[in-house]
């Protein structure tokens, strides 16, 4: 198993990874941080909706839905 870096939309449903980087403005980063998504946190993909729909993830027992474009700016490390 290798560690690889992908963005959140590329994760498989049920897969767990570690958040590595959030790209974007300060407001966006801070908002995600305060919702529990920040570097070095464990993140599990719950589901992804068709046609570039929102991505649902779970961090600390809490589920969050993130729009596709935003999810692309969240980089995670997974083992595959």
């Amino acid at each position: 198993m290798n560690k690889i870096n992908i963005d959140l939309t590329q994760m498989q449903p049920g897969e767990t990874g570690i958040v590595k980087e959030i790209q974007g403005g300060q407001g966006f980063v801070r908002k995600l941080q305060s919702m529990g998504v920040r570097p070095e946190k464990k993140i599990t993909k719950v589901s992804s909706h068709f046609w570039r729909g929102p991505q649902t993830v779970e961090v600390d027992n809490i589920q969050i839905a993130i729009g596709f474009g935003m999810a692309r700016r969240i980089l995670v490390e997974v083992k595959r």
């Binding site: 449903p13 407001g27 801070r30 908002k31 995600l32 941080q33 305060s34 919702m35 529990g36 920040r38 719950v46 589901s47 992804s48 909706h49 068709f50 046609w51 570039r52 729909g53 929102p54 649902t56 600390d60 027992n61 809490i62 589920q63 969050i64 839905a65 993130i66 729009g67 596709f68 474009g69 935003m70």
Partner: protein
């Protein structure tokens, strides 16, 4: 120390409103989705001899404002008082960020560790004593829904302390939080409960979409079942068995044909009082809002309240996100739409959840035209339903089609893109019966207080206009549009005029006109879309400003005129 002002501060979805209503006993709406309290609520709390003002601050993740609601929250904290920081015990780590930010301000803080009952079955155990030592302010475990811990919270209020810690960076705070959580919290393995399995199924697209369709279908089925039974078994008999004999006596006393008889009882239809068509204040004026509309309002808000408190609506928002993007909105806009099905006033107020002006304009304009309120739906079902369910379906299909077409068009025409959804999906929580009933009661009494006077005013207004022959004058002026374009009799102008006041009475006014089924379908559709009722108009103007409101109104009128004409051609 005298406490003058208490602020309830916390993240969205931590049960702040429930604690607020426990502390004040005041009437507030408690809901499970973020942002219901963008406008803050305040009440009073008795502390021995003294009374303190208590403010329910909008839910916020940080004290650095990233949106309007958070901005309000920050300003309130600056004004001072004692802050009760409410945190979700099942999600300690994230909630503590706000706590640490509060501790850096010059404000006394006490922490309420809420949703304490949830921690047990989630396999979380927190050492409250240790947390108190770590934070340096009192910590009380509470459960807003059951009221557990509220008494202790009030007793310990005077112990609240201002720490005024030195300001630290985000990274430093998260490091500190990590240490605190490690120290005080222990997680044990837990089995997935039934509700959690349901949570997963209802958010995955393959199972979620069928579940959503099923829930929507069942909701409408139940709303109709309850509504029809209330009408058939309670309200209809009440009016015909108890109220009618009284009115007959009054009618004999007033003498048919007199002015007062005309205003109070209205016209006899085939020699009798007809609650649907007589159009007197005491006949149709009471019958429409109470016996035809109220039962549906009751059943709709009962089901809606249940779904809100269960926490289903944010899931629906996520599932609808893709579809809503085509209309220039993101999924969350479906929540104002659903509220708008009850009444457009709260629906339009809920568009405050949407951040951008463009979104707000699209959402309110679509709602004002494409979404009929429950009062109107009840009347359409009651009146048009007599001619066959097919025709009711045609009306709703046309309205839905208009909603889509207008959304697609506005999304094209208006500059800018639709923003993306970023929302927390709260866990399912079994709704508390008291909370659902309290909310239902507020909404019902709101309906009676606001709608009943307007309905009576509408009936009075139209009777006076008839007597003064003013209606005839307008009917003559608007005949080209009404008859020429829409194929309606020119007398339908009275319904359009009353429609500015209340849509339910307006639909009811189509009843006595002896319309063909086609005319009835066209008339009801136009009444739904040509202009919002006065209450909606007022909030629209307040929310959008006059310029955007005029733009929105112009769109409505154009859509109504052309839709009526097209229906007249193709039906």
């Amino acid at each position: 120390m005298k406490i003058e002002k208490i602020l309830l501060v916390g993240n969205p979805n931590v049960g702040k409103s429930a604690i607020f209503s426990r502390l004040t006993g005041a009437k507030v709406i408690i809901s499970n989705y973020p942002g219901t309290t963008v406008e803050f609520t305040q009440g009073k709390l008795k502390l021995g001899e003294e009374t303190a003002l208590i403010v329910d601050v909008p839910g916020t993740y940080t004290l650095e404002p990233t949106c309007k609601a958070e901005d309000v929250a920050c300003r309130m904290v600056k004004e001072g008082g004692v802050a009760i920081n409410i945190i979700d015990a099942t999600n300690l780590e994230r909630n503590l960020n706000l706590t640490l930010q509060l501790l850096e301000k010059d404000i006394s803080v006490i922490v309420a560790l809420n949703m304490w009952d949830d921690t047990k079955h989630r396999g979380i155990s927190i050492d409250v004593k240790k947390l108190e030592e770590q934070l340096g302010v009192p910590v009380v475990s509470t459960c807003g829904l059951s009221g557990e811990g509220i008494k202790e919270l009030i007793e310990r209020l005077p112990q609240a302390k201002a720490r005024s810690l030195p300001v630290s960076s985000d990274t430093q705070k998260w490091e500190k939080i990590g240490k605190i959580v490690e120290e005080v919290q222990k997680l044990t393995h837990r089995h997935h409960t039934f509700l959690e399995i349901l949570e997963d199924l209802s958010i995955k697209p393959l199972t979620g979409v069928p579940i959503a369709l099923g829930i929507i279908y069942c909701s409408f089925w139940v709303v109709r079942l309850i509504g029809e039974n209330l009408i058939g078994h309670i309200f209809e008999p009440l009016f015909t068995k108890l109220w009618l004999p009284l009115l007959m006596k009054l009618s004999a006393f007033l003498v048919e044909g007199s002015f007062l008889h005309h205003i109070l009882i209205g016209n006899f239809i085939e020699g009798k009082i007809n609650f649907g068509q007589s159009f007197g204040l005491l006949t149709t004026g009471l019958y429409v809002p109470i016996a035809m509309v109220l039962p549906y309002i009751f059943s709709f808000y009962l089901i809606l309240g249940f779904l809100e408190d269960l926490g289903y609506l944010p899931r629906l928002a996520v599932l609808a996100d893709n579809f809503m993007h085509h209309l220039g909105l993101h999924g969350y806009a479906i929540i104002p739409f659903i509220l708008g099905l009850g009444c457009k006033v709260p629906g339009i107020l809920a568009t405050r959840l949407l951040e951008e002006r463009r979104e707000k304009f699209i959402a309110t304009t679509l709602m004002a035209v494409g979404i009929p309120c429950m009062a109107q739906i009840a009347m359409i079902v009651g009146l048009v339903g007599q001619r066959g369910g097919k025709f009711v379906a045609i009306i709703f299909f046309v309205l839905f089609l208009l909603l889509i077409i207008k959304g697609l068009a506005l999304n094209r025409v208006l500059k800018g893109a639709s923003p993306e959804i970023l929302v927390e999906i709260p866990p399912y929580r079994m709704p508390q019966i008291q909370a659902v009933i309290k909310k239902l009661w507020m909404r019902l009494s709101g309906f009676l207080k606001e709608a009943l006077p307007l309905v009576l005013l509408g009936v009075l207004f139209v009777n006076i206009l008839y007597t003064l022959k003013i209606i005839d004058f307008f009917a003559y002026i608007f005949a080209p549009v009404l008859t020429g374009l829409w194929g309606l009799p020119k007398e339908a102008i009275s319904a359009l005029m009353v429609g500015f006041l209340r849509k339910d009475v307006a639909v009811g006014m189509l009843g006595p006109l002896n319309l063909t089924t086609k005319q009835l379908v066209i008339g009801s559709t136009i009444l739904a879309i040509y202009f919002p009722c006065i209450a909606t108009f007022v909030v629209l103007m307040r929310e959008l400003g006059i310029k955007d409101m005029l733009k929105s109104a112009l769109i409505m009128i154009i859509v109504a005129v052309s839709t009526g004409a097209i229906l007249n051609l193709i039906l």
